[in-house]
């Protein structure tokens, strides 16, 4: 019934309105999404795929990819564990300051990444709060890999928690309590009851978190120091090459990032579909 009404109301709009609206939507999509994506690949393959490959095999590009990957491999598990803990504490317990904590989790989303980077420099830089202590122990955080990981982790912190909190809130804890009454330990309850119930949301959060972590530019740019071959992540490498007018090198690296984004998108869609199938089930 509702379905019928919806179809008939859309039919009642004049044809030219529908055509115009569709065209507008398509134009916007083309201008702002499809075209830039195509440009990336066109520029990357402009002088043949050999040059594309060789610019990716360039030691600096490889180092940048390795660093980006390393940052993701460290930061994403950190945020996954943090997200699980935060979601568990915030949905399973009622305590004072709970809503303040819920807001706090969103700070990395609200704050500009550049500020996040500067905050790290102010804390761990040579003239920062812990600067002299770190110097004395010969520990480098800013302008080194740890700084890049911290910046990436900070910016991507809320993704997993944000996915899990609403789901765990709505699922409640009765199933977990039931598991306990049946003799399951805390770990058994987590692995056999909690995790299976949240696994799709968790995966979804991890994918979003990874996608954002690979592409992070602002915060990392501040703490990196731009040391070629050492503290350049893939996005920083792209910017550097672009500023040197090495278009092919810049866009080859960019095409890798774009490809990653497309893969992420596909994975995300797949998980969403899975989630829907299960819900219907």
């Amino acid at each position: 019934m509702a379905q019928n009404r919806r179809t008939s109301s859309s039919k009642s709009d004049p044809l030219w309105v529908r055509v115009l609206l569709t065209l507008m939507a398509l134009t916007f999509l083309g201008l702002f999404l499809a075209m830039p994506l195509c440009v990336v690949f066109i520029e990357a393959f402009q002088q043949g795929w050999r040059l594309w490959l060789s610019s990716l095999k360039d030691p600096d590009a490889l180092a940048a990819m390795r660093l980006s990957l390393f940052a993701v491999v460290v930061a994403v598990p950190m945020n996954t564990i943090f997200g699980l803990c935060a979601a568990w504490v915030l949905t399973r317990f009622r305590f004072k300051g709970r809503s303040a904590l819920l807001t706090l989790i969103d700070i990395p989303f609200a704050v500009s990444p550049v500020i996040a980077g500067m905050m790290l420099v102010l804390l761990f830089g040579s003239r920062g709060w812990f600067g002299s202590y770190l110097d004395a122990h010969n520990w480098k955080i800013v302008f080194a890999t740890p700084g890049i990981i911290l910046a990436t982790a900070f910016v991507t912190m809320p993704f997993v928690a944000r996915e899990l909190i609403p789901l765990m809130e709505s699922q409640g804890q009765e199933e977990e309590q039931a598991a306990r009454t049946l003799g399951a330990s805390g770990w058994q309850t987590f692995w056999r009851v909690t995790l299976p119930n949240i696994k799709w949301a968790l995966l979804y959060g991890i994918i979003l978190c990874s996608a954002r972590a690979v592409g992070e530019f602002g915060a990392v740019s501040v703490v990196s120091g731009h040391i070629t071959g050492q503290t350049m992540t893939l996005p920083l490498h792209i910017e550097a090459r672009y500023n040197e007018y090495s278009t092919v090198a810049a866009f080859s690296a960019a095409s890798v990032l774009a490809l990653l984004a497309l893969v992420t998108l596909a994975a995300k869609t797949f998980i969403e579909l899975r989630g829907q199938v299960r819900k219907r089930h």
Binding site: E174, Q177, A178, A179, R180, A184, S185, P196, N197
Partner: protein, 364 residues
């Protein structure tokens, strides 16, 4: 296994859920915790299960203090109000869960688990549904899966939180009987929470009536129904008519009636209430000079309830009354709406009213 609850208190914020509860449950008993919502009955059940920790007091299982024992070591079967079945597991996996999480040494092998699941499915009459998911079952079926899952670990105590609350009347009646039968077969100590007095009276060996975090009365269904200790228990266990009156030196006056009430000898001109169940009211047309035990009233409405007939009446002071007559008696009288009649209370219980500061005067 016997359960002893000693001086248990529990607060949620400013709300007193339980205020010093003492309760003995004997081995093999089927006990109902009965009370209105907010009376603390579910909290008490969850404290017995270890899902809630008491602020003070202790829970003793078979002579051993279990107050600090974690839930998973208590060997209690708990059936949740909304069943809490594991939604990502099939019925069979749900039932097997308690066996599969056992430490390797105590865990039965796969064939044993399979047999156990099959037996339990038979016990709750759900053969053939082993591979279904909870979302594919009806409410009554889910309830039975929850019961089978709780029984799979051979619990020492079975605890059920409003086990039939979310089901429709038919299914509820059937499952009620099934629970009683199951309990008689297995002999496991069983405690269930309910707000339905009929359910409590029908199923249990003993009823614990709770109100505002306190136990009002503990007794067999007959005891709490026929010998209620106070006005709350009387009120909660079924419909009742209330007559306001006054007690003075062992005499109770209700309207023109004067009754002896030696149990209230200590009261001096205090407000009391007389309570009569609708089926304890008889209706007559003539007072035969016996006006001392009769109260005049007018029939206002007659509702036929199959084997019974409910007659609504109004007293001379405007207070409404309900009487429940057998169909035979009703036909004998052939009452008409609007007719003046007399009523006689076959069984009247008098309780002193709660003395509230500035309380109203209830004299009639």
């Amino acid at each position: 296994m016997s359960i002893e609850v000693k001086g248990v208190t529990k607060k949620f914020g400013d709300f007193n859920a339980l205020g010093g509860v003492n309760l003995d449950i004997h081995t093999g008993e089927l006990v109902a915790l009965l009370g209105p919502s907010g009376s603390g009955k579910t909290t008490l059940l969850r404290i017995i299960a270890g899902l809630e920790t008491p602020d003070s007091g202790s829970v003793i299982f078979h002579g051993n203090d279990a107050t600090d024992q974690p839930t998973q070591d208590r060997q209690v079967g708990f059936v949740f109000q909304h069943y809490a079945l594991f939604r990502h597991m099939t019925v069979a996996e749900n039932i097997a869960f308690g066996l599969r999480v056992r430490p390797r040494k105590l865990r039965p092998n796969n064939t044993e688990i399979k047999n156990r699941v099959t037996n339990l499915l038979q016990l709750v009459q759900l053969e053939g549904l082993a591979e279904r998911y909870p979302s594919e079952l009806s409410g009554g079926q889910r309830q039975r899966v929850a019961l089978a899952r709780a029984l799979a670990v051979e619990p020492k105590v079975l605890l059920l939180d409003e086990p039939f609350g979310a089901l429709d009347a038919r299914v509820r009646q059937e499952l009620r009987r099934r629970l009683r039968k199951l309990h008689d077969e297995l002999g496991v100590t069983t405690v269930f929470v309910t707000h339905d007095q009929e359910e409590a009276l029908e199923v249990s060996d003993r009823v614990v009536v709770l109100n505002k975090g306190h136990i009002e009365q503990i007794g067999t269904p007959d005891e709490v129904y026929l010998e209620p200790k106070n006005a709350f228990v009387l009120n909660f266990l079924g419909n009742v008519n209330r007559f306001r009156g006054r007690a003075d030196h062992g005499q109770v006056r209700i309207g023109d009636l004067t009754l002896d009430a030696p149990e209230h000898a200590a009261l001096v001109d205090a407000p009391v209430s007389g309570f009569v169940r609708p089926h304890d009211i008889d209706i007559t047309r003539h007072h035969n000079g016996d006006s001392a035990s009769l109260i005049p009233a007018t029939v206002t409405f007659i509702a036929s309830l199959g084997p019974f007939v409910r007659v609504e009446l109004e007293r001379e002071n405007g207070e409404p009354l309900d009487a429940l007559l057998t169909r035979e008696r009703y036909e004998e009288l052939s009452l008409q709406s609007g007719e003046p009649v007399f009523i006689r209370a076959r069984r009247l219980r008098v309780f002193a009213d709660d003395v509230k500061p500035g309380g109203e005067d209830y004299s009639i």
